[in-house]
């Protein structure tokens, strides 16, 4: 479904992503894992049209979408749930969902059947009229996910959905992603939470300083000695160049 080739991204001369290629097939959960500053968000932002890449191709179902503005990418069925949630605190929970559904529906907002929401996000369904700023961190992440799903995407880009969540809430979020995949959604998941992410994903890419250093089936990566030593801190003798530079 998604095919990224030779992506280069820089910020005012500072190279953040250097020749990244990756693929996501329909129905898969693919994860990108890597330390802070590796360039994970930059890759997602390039795909979503938030910031065009310097070089490289981004193909969605074989058609180039690289360089298209974000609203055109959303129109093609790609939705990003941004890092740090970025929910609209001054809008109500319901209005946040409306913003997610911005590209669907008519000019006048009509009342919506929220039974689907109640099934996936029971905690939100009772708080539709509350200002989103009043939600807890876990609820806010759920709202960010629910809001993204409102666009009925085919491909969901998730940027560190477990950021700042307790292990229990993280487990809930990951369970939700699994349920979404089972309903046919394709997911590109960016995470730092290596073990849980690889347990969930079908395939994974390891990103370090803007380059893919390792990729393969998630189960294989999970048993990979090098990865485990550098990220899970199991081995004492981790090579120094693998220590996150920030």
């Amino acid at each position: 479904m998604l095919d990224v080739r030779g992506l280069h991204i820089s910020y005012g001369g500072v190279r953040a992503v250097q020749g990244v290629s990756l693929e996501v097939s329909t129905g898969e959960i693919v994860s990108i894992i890597g330390p802070n500053g590796a360039g994970k968000t930059s890759i997602l932002n390039a795909i979503a049209g938030i910031r065009p890449p310097d070089r490289g191709e981004i193909l969605l179902d074989g058609r180039a979408i690289g360089g298209l503005p974000a609203h055109a990418v959303v129109a093609r069925g790609v939705m990003q749930v941004p890092e740090g949630r970025l929910i609209f605190g001054t809008l109500s929970v319901e209005e946040n969902l409306r913003v997610g559904a911005h590209q669907r529906g008519g000019f006048i907002l009509r009342s919506r059947d929220r039974s689907g929401l109640r099934r996936l996000f029971p905690a939100l369904a009772d708080k539709l009229d509350r200002p989103a700023a009043s939600l807890s961190g876990g609820e806010a992440q759920m709202l960010a996910l629910a809001r993204g799903l409102e666009s009925e995407p085919r491909l969901l880009l998730l940027d560190e959905p477990s950021l700042g969540l307790s292990p229990k809430l993280t487990e809930e979020v990951f369970e939700l992603i699994r349920r979404l995949r089972d309903r046919g959604l394709t997911v590109l998941l960016v995470e730092q939470n290596v073990r849980q992410t690889l347990a969930l994903a079908d395939r994974g890419y390891v990103l370090e300083s803007g380059r893919i250093t390792l990729h393969g089936a998630a189960a294989e990566l999970l048993s990979d000695e090098r990865l485990v030593s550098s990220y899970l801190g199991v081995s004492v003798g981790a090579p120094s160049h693998r220590v996150p530079n920030r």
């Binding site: 209005e95 913003v99 529906g105």
Partner: protein, 299 residues
Amino acid sequence: MIDFIQNTVDGVMFGSSYALLAIGFTIVFGVMRRINLAFGASIMLGAYVGTWLHVHYQVPVLVVALTTIAGTVLAGIYIERLCFHAVRRDAALASMVSSFVIWMQLEEASIHLLPERTYAFPGLFAAGAYELGPFLFRAEQTTMLVVAAVMVGVLHLLLHRTRFGVALRAISENPLAAAYMGINAAWVVLCAFALVSMVGGIAGYAILATDEQITPFFGLWATFKGLIAMMLGGMGSLPGAIVGGLLLGVVEANALWYLGTEYRDLSAFLLLFAMLVLRPGGLMGQRILGREELAFRRV
């Protein structure tokens, strides 16, 4: 006491037009974090085109009203394209300076249309007044209050019950998040400019019809009144714009009555000065300022 109440009633009525002008500034500020200095001049251009048609071709009053509104909307779109769309988002100062330049340009265009002097401006119906107990109400001013109330109601519905309105509020809070959601901000902002220009055009027509005349100072006047009313209420706040406009109207009306004509504008500046010292965020601006800081921390 009766005088004071009468003044307050007059002030509320006239202040409702300030409220509409302030809404024009506040919506643009809310969504762009910029001040559109050319707003008053865009209304003036619309009104001048209407007056010009009336002077030269004796078009019906309704045409003058519609031309004023349409002319303001076109000028508003012109301003958006030139000062706000073309100029990069983070170049706040550049777009403010360029909107100042467009202000001059639009005034120049108006004065070319009709040489510099005062012209009669036609109202939709003959001026009149009616009495209720000890109080006197002018028909045009009452109309203005009704028009303003209707406009505020329509705007409220638009901002809360339509896709466009919710998108506009989303952009106002966090443009980056709005971009992630697939909102085409350029388009929404252009529509917002057209919308506030329509509000401005309607307010402008109502004000001029009440005054029964138009002078080359109208652009400056409208920009001043709208800006002061917005600052009083709190920048970016819609309820603030309404409260600020009414407050300005009431203070001016009382100053006019108790102190004399020359104190009308002076009282407005004094009021603004007092507000900036005592409550710099304006009456309802505190929350908005807090949100602004929040947005900076996030991005």
